[in-house]
Each structure stands twice: as structure tokens, then as C-alpha cells.
């Protein structure tokens, strides 16, 4: 956002559209696959494979770090609210699992939810987070930001359907949607903050 790529509600909507179709789709696919795995009582090896397949689809360390930080936070809360064998199996493989894997384990574990539900949660979170950030960082009208999210309803529905339709595939064969601009922006963002810290230190 500091690059001025998003300055108003129209640009926010277009940014969210791209994010939903790229990173959001990837998150939805792996949330659905994790929910499927949870329902099928997957073993540690399967959770480990899901984890490394998300890594291979996330070339940006900044994005991997963000996904694991969010995953850990969600898992900690989820372990108290909705404990399940699936979540324990996932956390036995990694104490900082990727966010989509946690969403899937939580949805398909204690709640016995469907891959479709897990996909919908992940897809929605991929755009609701940036939308609320736009309100806080750019001072956008919250109603306009929410309208931008709501306008993507049909796209969200399509992504969710798609993710649910591939949930049962072998982890290696799951879709691997890339997002080059998001990856570059995430790295630039990290660089920007590091440089800022240096500026204060000098």
C-alpha cells in the first residue's frame, strides 16, 4: 500500500480480486485438502507432505513466515476451543503449521466440517484481512471496503467450489497457483520495514 498501488475503494476491489484468485485460491485449496485429510484420519506423513507442498508453492519467505505465524496463532486458539485428533496430528508435525492447514484441521476435525466449508473460510480470510488493513492504513471508508469484499461474493463462491472439487487429490497433485506480484510486494514490504528500522537505529 505504501507504493500507492491501492489508494481508493476501486483499486482495493481489483487488488482483492487478484489476491482471491491467486493466494486466496491456493489457501482455499489447501484448507479443503486439510479438511479432507482430517476427515480421513490422515497420519503424520500426510500432514508433513501437505506442509512441504505448501512450502513448495510459496517461494516468498515473507509469505511463508506470515502463513506460519497466522497458523500458529489460530492453532493455539483452536486447540482450546475445538481440540481434535487432527489438530494434534498436524501440530505434532510442525509447531508452526501453515494457516490453511490449520483452518482445514480445525474445520474437518472437531467440527466434522466439509472441505467446502474450510475452503470458504480460507478464501474469505484472504480478502477480509487486506480489506480491514486498507481501512486502518489508508483510512478508507469501512463501508466501501466491506462493499469491495461483498462484490467478490460470486468469485469467492467459484474458488470455494473449485477448491472442494480437488480436495481429495494427492498433495503433490494439488493446484499450485502462483502470485508473482504479491510475492514481490511481500518482499518489498519486508525490505521497507528492515530499512526503516535501520534508519531509526542510525
Amino acid at each position: 500500500m505504501h507504493r500507492g498501488l491501492v489508494t481508493g475503494p476501486g483499486e482495493l476491489r481489483e487488488f482483492l480480486f487478484g489476491r482471491l484468485r491467486s493466494a486466496g485460491c491456493l489457501a482455499a485449496v489447501f484448507a479443503a485438502a486439510a479438511a479432507h485429510a482430517a476427515g480421513a484420519g490422515a497420519d503424520g506423513r500426510h500432514w508433513r507432505r501437505l506442509d512441504s507442498e505448501i512450502d513448495a508453492r510459496t517461494p516468498s519467505p515473507a509469505q511463508r513466515e506470515a502463513s506460519r505465524a497466522q497458523g500458529r496463532g489460530t492453532a493455539r486458539a483452536g486447540r482450546v476451543a475445538w481440540p481434535s485428533a487432527a489438530l494434534d496430528a498436524l501440530l505434532a508435525v510442525s509447531t508452526r503449521p501453515h494457516h490453511p492447514a490449520v483452518i482445514g484441521a480445525l474445520t474437518g476435525g472437531a467440527r466434522a466440517g466439509t472441505p467446502r466449508e474450510a475452503a470458504a473460510v480460507a478464501a474469505y480470510l484472504s480478502i477480509s484481512g487486506p480489506a480491514s488493513a486498507a481501512v486502518r492504513l489508508l483510512g478508507l471508508d469501512p463501508f466501501a471496503a466491506n462493499a469491495a469484499v461483498a462484490a467478490l461474493g460470486p468469485d469467492l463462491e467459484r474458488i470455494t467450489e473449485y477448491a472442494a472439487s480437488v480436495a481429495g487429490r494427492d498433495p503433490a497433485a494439488l493446484p499450485a497457483v502462483g502470485a508473482p506480484a504479491l510475492d514481490l510486494l511481500a518482499q518489498a514490504h519486508q525490505r521497507h520495514h528492515r530499512d526503516e528500522v535501520r534508519l531509526f537505529a542510525s
Partner: protein
């Protein structure tokens, strides 16, 4: 048109890289640069093979398949000589090209094709799949140009898979053909050229580096990916070179970059 081409490079008993198997099938024509192999004979040489498009391809309906095997300790540079134009065919239907490579222990493959221009109404699917032995080295590049000047690109789906043993290092798919998506800062930010290079080399970068629309990032399970977005191919190449220069083996990687 259906075409299958094979290429195998191995080390002979004197430690030279030799092309053991080479079968071209138009339009996939493989041209070994024999002089270069002989001149540089010795344990550090490498086989150099040029990939030449000997007919206008891919066209709609084409299926092109290239298999490459690099034996233990062998070294191959496989490079393109001209840009590939992806065109629609007379018949309806998509075209498909697959490149499958295997690199054995201590082997090295540099796969450096020229850029791919996705023209209007093309419908193409491309897949690059590399299976690496534990200490094999690989660099593979892809430069996508979204249409000729003032042209919207057709449909393209391109996937890159790199695995080392059982471990996936890279799996990335890009789809072109939706102008709203390509314009979004959440996907291509309006770039006309997307350049990526996956590098599994001697050393891996410890930390990511980035600049104006380029980055070099260490991958989670080893190797690194250089990414650049640009309004034109010249700038994209420049930015990709910038990214590769920051790699710990950057000197070697940019020496013969293009």
C-alpha cells in the same frame, strides 16, 4: 502435430560430457554444439545443445514432448536460439508442451530457453518437470511475454515442478488470459513480461534480496527463485539479472546469463 524428442548426456570414461542419445522430432530440433564440447574437453566441460523450433510451433492441437536425462556427474547447457511464439491453430483446441528432465547424482542442467510470446487467441499448456538426485544442480528459466506489441495474450497455463528425491522444492503455476486478473496488484500488477528462474546451485542464499519489481528468495526446502516483473522483455531480463547477481553463486550465474 505430435512430436517427441529425447536427449541424454553422460560422462564418458575420460570424464568428457558426451551426448549419448539425441532424437529430434520436428518441430523439436536439438542441435549439439560439438565444437564447444571438444574445445573445452576435460573434467570441467559441459555439453551444449541448442533447442531449435524447426517449424512454426506450437500451434493449436500440437503436442510436443521433450525428455532430457543428465547422467551422474555430467553437465548440460540446453538453450533456446529464438523466442517461441505460441499461436492459435487452424483447428480448435489447445496446444501442449511438456519438458521432463532427470538429473542424476552430481549432474548439472542449465535449461535456458528464450522467451515465450503468448499471442492472441492462443490456447497453450506448458509443463516443466525436473527430478533431481540429492546433489544435482539445476537452473531453469521462463520468460513469458503477454502478447506481441499492443496485443492481448491468449490463454496460457504454465507449470514448473522441481523435486529433489521425495521433496518438492518448487511447484508454481501461472495462468494468463484474464486481463482483469493480470492488471491486479494481487497477481501481475499489469506487467507485460514475467520472468522467473529457479536455481538449485552450490550454495543457497541465506536471506532474500529484492529491488524494483525483482526478488531472489531462498526456497523452504533448498534452492532459490528469482522473479522479475516488467513492462518489456529487456527490462525483465535486466531485473532478473539483478536478482541472480545477489545469489551467493551470482558471478557464475550471470556470466553466461543470456
Amino acid at each position: 502435430m505430435r512430436a517427441r524428442a529425447h536427449l541424454t548426456v553422460e560422462l564418458d570414461s575420460r570424464g568428457r560430457n558426451v551426448v549419448r542419445e539425441l532424437s529430434s522430432a520436428s518441430p523439436l530440433t536439438l542441435m549439439p554444439r560439438r565444437g564447444a564440447v571438444r574445445l573445452a574437453a576435460g573434467p570441467t566441460d559441459r555439453a551444449v545443445v541448442h533447442l531449435v523450433n524447426s517449424a512454426t510451433a506450437p500451434l493449436g492441437g500440437d503436442e510436443l514432448d521433450l525428455r532430457v536425462r543428465v547422467g551422474a556427474g555430467a553437465r548440460l547447457l540446453l538453450r533456446g536460439v529464438a523466442a517461441t511464439l505460441v499461436l492459435p491453430g487452424h483447428r480448435r483446441g489447445s496446444s501442449r508442451s511438456t519438458v521432463h528432465v532427470e538429473v542424476a547424482e552430481g549432474g548439472t542442467l542449465e535449461y535456458l530457453p528464450e522467451h515465450t510470446v503468448v499471442t492472441a487467441r492462443a490456447e497453450h499448456e506448458a509443463e516443466f518437470r525436473a527430478e533431481l538426485a540429492e546433489d544435482a544442480l539445476l537452473r531453469c528459466r521462463e520468460v513469458l511475454v503477454l502478447g506481441r506489441s499492443n496485443e492481448r495474450p491468449g490463454l496460457l497455463r504454465t507449470s514448473t515442478h522441481v523435486t529433489r528425491g521425495e521433496v518438492p522444492l518448487v511447484r508454481q503455476t501461472l495462468e494468463l488470459g484474464n486481463s482483469r486478473l493480470e492488471a491486479s496488484a494481487g497477481y501481475l500488477a499489469g506487467a507485460r513480461v514475467v520472468a522467473t528462474e529457479s536455481v538449485v546451485w552450490k550454495n543457497d542464499p541465506v536471506a532474500p534480496t529484492s529491488g524494483e519489481w525483482w526478488s531472489l528468495t531462498p526456497l523452504a526446502a533448498g534452492g532459490a527463485t528469482a522473479t522479475a516483473l516488467a513492462p518489456d522483455a529487456v527490462t525483465a531480463r535486466h531485473r532478473l539479472t539483478e536478482a541472480l547477481r545477489t545469489h551467493p553463486d551470482g558471478k557464475e550465474l550471470v556470466r553466461e546469463h543470456w
